[in-house]
Symmetry: C3
């Protein structure tokens, strides 16, 4: 496992833990938490793969995916913590995960013949639609779509810059790094300055 | 762009605008409005393509689809109108769109080897399930399923007649025209006479 | 139609009837009831087929599926009964259906090259995610995920034992029978003893 994989798995773990916590607010049992955690961590990539036509979808047959989600749920279950203490760490890890999932979603889409505009869209969906599905399962209007901090917008800006750098011939790891830095930066900026998109 | 394409794009535009207005009632931002508008306009065709196995789904790689949705959302955003003035126009355009999406969904299903009974079902889903998905995203019980004006039923009747005319050898454009007229007629009839399906 | 098919169709019929009753609690019309009934009966298999990449999904082109759902909805509609009298019968038929859908989902997944761990997951999803989708359509937090009787857990235990028996070389019909018996047994045990999974 190299550094990039390590960071990626940490991101997936944090997404799953976020899902497990959301399940807790809805009086779910541990099975329900697994479903919501899985949806949060892998839902975005699943939607992407269904839409672009990858079969089977990315996580099927992948025991590591299952292990990450199950261990995230068990840790949330055992610690009975609401993770408020770790809020800052979670914020950063989530933002780094967003960047990596966005870039990964773009690469996968391009590899399956999707054009650049839609690869950007698929990158944003890969990173953000897991939370949307989790919210839908929990019967909530998805946070992603409501007025608030820049979240999908951060991914979209990172995604466009990633594609431009790639076209300019930049090496993969460097492009990924810049994409992550931009998304983390916009997330922090949006939180601090209370910047948000206008309401429709 | 010929006449039929022009009518079709108008229908898609109106579906997207309807979605953007729904997003407004849920305090979404402009990104949320894009998602709900896209789901309203293209959700039905997406479900159909996923179920019958077309890869990628119809709108992927299509910049015109994106342009129609984005411009519908921007116009709703800029005009800050609730379109109540245009209620009658919207009703007709929506009904014409229903007819065209139903016929289009049938043709696409038949082209992929779906039998005639399920092509009717896929035609109805193509036309109506975008609104269902948009309602689900917004956390509402879908209007489509509740007692009210004939909507899916209008599509189903139009779809059956379309298939019968096609089997009788009628030319495509004429069949499409008749399907649209029937659906618009049933929609008007149902609204005027307050006809609806019985409750379960 | 042999005995196994007869039992399977009874299970599907009961799932569809359950969906139609759920639609009634949400003031849906008869079209809405068809959609919710279809989702309850075939939603789990649809999700499985989409994820593992079977095209088209299992029920497309199958008039028997349509007939089972339509007749279940019509019977619920005509009888205007809430089936409370049949509660015990429904409980058993539902549990038998769970067992058959679990085993069927596993077989289908293995046939499409899914590994054994994920075949267990797909078996459980085949049996239980129809109800989850129906709840989502109705805007409810899915019962499946909330603290309560063992339901998905019963399927998961039955699924693991089914796979183990299959690896041990047991004949298909016997394995299916044991899987069903185990799931029915756990369902009864859980109901009587009020056993449930811990909350997250």
């Amino acid at each position: 496992m190299n550094l990039i994989e390590g960071i990626l798995y940490t991101g997936i773990f944090v997404f799953a833990a976020t899902g497990a916590l959301k399940a807790r607010t809805h009086q779910m049992d541990i099975f329900g938490a697994m479903v919501v955690a899985f949806a949060t961590a892998y839902g975005g990539g699943t939607i992407r793969d269904l839409l672009i036509g990858v079969r089977p979808v990315n996580w099927v047959n992948d025991y590591l995916a299952l292990g990450l989600v199950v261990s995230a749920v068990l840790i949330i279950f055992l610690l009975k913590t609401n993770l408020a203490r770790f809020r800052r760490t979670l914020f950063f890890t989530d933002a780094i995960g967003l960047g990596m999932f966005t870039a990964g979603g773009i690469e996968r889409s391009l590899a399956y013949g999707i054009n650049e505009g839609y690869a950007v869209i698929m990158g944003v969906m890969s990173a953000t639609f897991g939370g949307l599905i989790a919210d839908m399962i929990c019967g909530e209007v998805p946070n992603l779509l409501k007025k608030g901090e820049l979240y999908a917008t951060a991914c979209a800006i990172g995604a466009v810059i990633y594609i431009l750098l790639k076209k300019a011939g930049l090496e993969y790891n460097l492009g990924l790094f810049i994409c992550v830095v931009i998304i983390v930066g916009i997330r922090i900026f949006s939180k601090r300055k209370r910047v948000h998109l206008p309401e429709i």
